[in-house]
Symmetry: C2
Subunit: 195 residues, 2 copies
């Protein structure tokens, strides 16, 4: 294989990742065979696996990059903000996310490895919520950890619906409801005062 210039290497890695994402989303992890990956990338297996050790490395590179992107959104704006951005995600992003869920279910070794990443997103979200509870903008009659579990369930349900193409016309209204549920309710204080 001829030596490529560094910027060409990067461009090629990016192109391979984009093509692999389409393949994983459409055929699933097992279904995206090396032959499918060759067809989707337009490259030989030798060229593909020059950049990524194997199919597993390719999948992990995608899933890790997505997990980092989600973590950055959660750090900056919280889990609800991450949910508001989900409908913009393409089918490839959603497909990889669902493949991660499936592999968590069927592959214990993958689960042990991946659980650490999920824990770190959870901790970041929980930290934000605890601060907001202290700041008085998030309700404190429910534990921050419970609020995080609640938000993660809605988030993961939304990924399933968007990926399946479930026709939910009112996602914005639902996310408004979710946001109000987590927010400090001025009524609760009112009620406490009256009782």
């Amino acid at each position: 294989m001829p030596r490529l210039r560094p910027e060409t290497v990067d461009a090629r890695r990016t192109a391979i990742l984009a093509a692999a994402r389409r393949a994983f989303a459409r055929y699933g992890y097992e279904g995206a065979t090396v032959r499918v990956l060759e067809a989707e990338t337009g490259l030989s297996r030798g060229a593909i696996f020059h950049h990524f050790r194997d199919k597993e490395s390719l999948f992990l590179a995608l899933a890790e990059s997505d997990a980092r992107a989600t973590a950055a959104v959660v750090d900056g704006g919280g889990l609800i903000e991450a949910m508001r951005r989900l409908p913009e995600r393409d089918a490839g992003w959603l497909g990889v996310s669902l493949e991660v869920s499936r592999r968590l279910r069927t592959e214990p070794a993958f689960r042990d490895e991946w659980q650490r990443r999920l824990d770190s997103i959870r901790q970041s979200a929980e930290h934000r919520l605890v601060s907001a509870q202290h700041g008085g903008t998030v309700r404190d009659d429910v534990a921050a950890s419970t609020l995080v579990t609640f938000l993660r369930l809605v988030h993961d349900g939304l990924v399933v619906h968007l990926a399946a193409g479930t026709p939910d016309a009112d996602i914005d209204a639902v996310l408004d409801l979710v946001e109000r549920t987590v927010r400090k309710d001025p009524c609760a204080d009112l009620q406490r005062e009256q009782s």
Copy 2:
């Protein structure tokens, strides 16, 4: 193949379905090959496909029976009741449910067929909520259809978490929060009176 008595036919169908459920949950739809189904049922392919036309019929029989069971719970107790019962479900039930989601995503023909069943569960849930809004037990500042979408997202997220073995210690507390979110809030009236 010798003729079996009707009760033996029923028992055998039930046994095949239980074995197929384990196979689909563990290997996914594609991974549960005819060979895997033979090993799991302890029967020959001839015996299996004497009772079910093909693998697709076997999968649909399971998915339909699960959809009917969910519809019955929703009819009787609503979507939150259906969620409270999810943690009792075994891995086989959750696995089939996730395979339905995956096939909704990757197979348009399956989606068209299945969407009608999902629509009917949605209608039943929405009908219950509209009645409860009129009865004053469910909040009416949010459309019943939005409440149903909200509950379905939490439901489907919970299926993903339970199937993946995500360690959520506080599912009961989350479902209490979800129930309070849907319930008519006495505070809202209080606030309206004061303003």
